[in-house]
């Protein structure tokens, strides 16, 4: 408990150091009275979304710092490819008209990724081996609906096909708030590895039909601060389960009966000054808040292959269904630092601390952290085609540590991983493609 308090205090101190910044001195900064705000190059529905999410109001006075933050908010919108602000004379001296020029993302989008993961030991996921080649692809359409609504629909594959439907309503409560809902369904099989707190056995669950629903509501507080509430429900029909590592090579996967499910809810304070929602190159992102995680994993029936020459022996006992409940507080801080006009360094620290109950056992203290260092470099020169928004080489080093409740084998009490990786990301008006390579220096569960 003492160590947990010390760790939390250290995390809080680090969080405060990252978050604390000198207040912007407004004494010498020019301010502008915005008599009128107009959005150019966009249909009325998109213009209304841009205006509400900018958090700028006609008839108010803003400093350049506040306008810069507003421009970052507009650029972070998923429907905006680029945006620029320009001031013009208003109707009387001292008043200005702000024009927001917007370049939209294409209504059609394509996403794809290929990642080769290498491990320093044999792992069992979709296949058994020391490497895993993951491919995914999705296509979809998105468009404005009604007043400040965005609808999107897509189909994709991650080895199994899925369909997705989502809707976001902006301008909630007449402010820059938003509400989003997303449904995803897959009829075919996949292998899922649940978060450590949801499944301390670190197993790969082969599932058939799966369904996910996500809800989110965000309300701005000040220009860079907001409150966000999220809820996610994931359920899948489990077929077999096998440990990801530390297994006997000839041991077949256990057969499962029933459904696994995860329900997660959190309420976070967010502080965001990043310049891009997908590939930020500057700014700070902070979040803090409470959450809950509940996971149900079904009963499983291990099967053991008999030694050669012998008949089948008595089957081992089933592994019981399990329910884990965690209440936690999470903190995260990510800083993007542009060191040159084409290179960005990234430092991130995420942590949580909570109390977990497994079935009817007494609650136990759990905590975890993920630390990441990264480097990103644009491969585009200034004379590159305007059709390509981003072509970046990204490299990262990531350390993960989780401490779960004390559980007997085959579950683990602790999980630790160190991973390095690199990849190339391509983004244009209609596509986001990633090609990556990662290597797990070590990845282990411990008692």
């Amino acid at each position: 408990m003492k160590r947990l308090v010390c760790r939390l205090a250290a995390s809080g101190l680090a969080f405060w150091l990252v978050a604390s910044a000198p207040p912007a001195s407004a004494a010498d900064e020019a301010t502008f009275y915005l008599e009128r705000i107009e959005v150019d190059n966009a249909p009325p529905a998109i213009g209304a979304i841009v205006l509400s999410q900018s958090l700028l109001k006609e008839g108010s006075r803003y400093s350049e710092t506040e306008l810069r933050d507003a421009l970052s908010r507009v650029r972070r919108l998923p429907l905006v490819r680029d945006a620029e602000f320009a001031l013009h004379k208003g109707s009387s001296r001292g008043a200005y008209r702000l024009s927001i020029s917007v370049e939209r993302m294409s209504p059609f989008f394509l996403q794809g990724s290929s990642n080769l993961s290498l491990f320093n030991e044999t792992v069992r996921l979709r296949e058994t081996g020391r490497s895993l080649f993951d491919n995914s692809a999705a296509v979809g359409l998105r468009d404005s609906v009604g007043r400040q609504g965005m609808l999107f629909a897509g189909i994709g594959t991650t080895g199994s096909a899925y369909g997705e439907l989502g809707y976001t309503q902006y301008g909630l409560f007449g402010t820059g708030g938003y509400a989003a809902a997303d449904l995803q369904y897959s009829a075919s099989g996949n292998v899922l590895v649940l978060p450590f707190l949801a499944d301390p056995s670190l197993s790969g669950w082969e599932v058939g039909e799966s369904f996910a629903a996500r809800l989110a509501v965000g309300v701005p507080i000040r220009r860079n601060d907001s409150i966000r509430a999220r809820y996610a429900h994931i359920q899948a029909d489990a077929r077999t389960v096998a440990p990801v590592f530390g297994f006997q090579p000839d041991t077949p996967a256990a057969i499962t009966k029933g459904r696994l499910s995860i329900d997660q809810a959190d309420l976070d304070w967010l502080y965001d000054t990043t310049d891009d929602a997908l590939l930020p190159t500057q700014g700070l992102f902070l979040s803090a808040g409470p959450g809950t995680l509940k996971a149900n994993t079904p009963e499983s029936f291990p099967t053991v292959s008999p030694p050669p020459g012998q008949g089948p022996g008595p089957p081992p006992g089933p592994a019981a269904a399990q329910t884990t409940n965690t209440a936690y507080i999470s903190l995260s801080a990510t800083r993007y630092l542009p060191v040159t006009d084409r290179q960005t360094l990234l430092g991130s620290l995420q942590g949580y601390a909570g109390r977990t109950r497994v079935d009817q056992q007494p609650r136990a203290t759990t905590f975890g952290l993920v630390g990441t260092l990264g480097h990103s470099m644009s491969l585009l020169s200034s004379s590159s085609s305007r059709d390509i928004d981003d072509l970046r080489l990204e490299t990262f080093l990531e350390y993960t540590y989780d401490r779960g409740p004390p559980l007997p084998a085959p579950s683990y009490t602790r999980f630790e991983r160190l991973r390095v990786g690199t990849g190339v990301v391509f983004r244009s008006r209609w596509a986001l493609l990633r090609l990556g390579l990662s290597y797990a220096v070590f990845e282990r569960g411990m008692q």
């Binding site: 602000f85 500057q282 630092l337 542009p338 006009d341 290179q343």
Partner: protein
């Protein structure tokens, strides 16, 4: 080590904007090395568009003489005021701050072209090969208020210069050099925003006349 390699590879792969063909001119004047920057920087399409937006554009100047292990920094802010149709400038270099207003873009460009930047503290460099001056100008949208706060934190004791008539000095020799170097580093590194454009030149430092 890996991070240093990545940054070095990135740095080596970066090149200056191809559109600006004119080069800065370096000369010795009154015993100091002075540099004049071509106005094509201002005339760059993207730079001019951002200037005309009515919001502040910041130009960060870096002058480096690698052979002398010398670096100097300066900053120039330009804002177009739509009502007066004038161009407001605020120039900050080592221990100097200067503000001027121009009635047209042409007069701004003329002033820019004629403005001599003093790279202070360049020693006489002996040897058969000529020393090089590396010049980098980063164009950053919006103002640099973070720099003002950085000055407040670390450099409260630096006094504003009384004589604002001399050319801007990108560097301060002598007893204050350590503090000025810190301010110079703060001028550039405190502004942690991505540059809209970056211009780079390498200019040969002319031989200084022996008296």
């Amino acid at each position: 080590m890996i991070l240093a390699v990545l940054l070095l590879v990135g740095e080596l792969s970066e090149s200056s904007h191809p559109a600006v063909r004119a080069s800065p001119q370096a000369s010795w004047e009154e015993g100091s090395l002075r540099v004049r920057i071509p106005s094509q920087v201002l005339l760059d399409v993207e730079v001019r568009r951002v200037i005309q937006s009515g919001l502040t554009v910041t130009f960060l100047f870096d002058f480096a003489v690698p052979r002398a292990r010398l670096e100097r920094h300066a900053r120039l802010e330009v804002r177009y005021e739509p009502w007066d149709e004038t161009y407001l400038t605020s120039l900050l270099s080592q221990s100097q701050k200067r503000e001027e207003t121009f009635s047209s873009f042409d007069s701004l460009a003329q002033w820019w072209e004629a403005l001599p930047w003093t790279v202070s503290g360049v020693p006489r460099l002996e040897g058969s090969s000529r020393a090089e001056l590396k010049i980098t100008i980063s164009v950053v949208p919006f103002s640099a208020n973070e720099e003002r706060d950085a000055r407040h934190w670390f450099a409260q004791s630096i006094e504003e210069p009384r004589d604002l008539g001399s050319p801007p000095a990108a560097g301060g020799p002598g007893a204050q050099s350590a503090r000025d170097d810190m301010l110079g580093a703060l001028i550039t590194t405190a502004i942690k925003r991505r540059a809209l454009r970056t211009f780079r030149w390498t200019v040969t430092i002319p031989e200084q006349e022996r008296r």
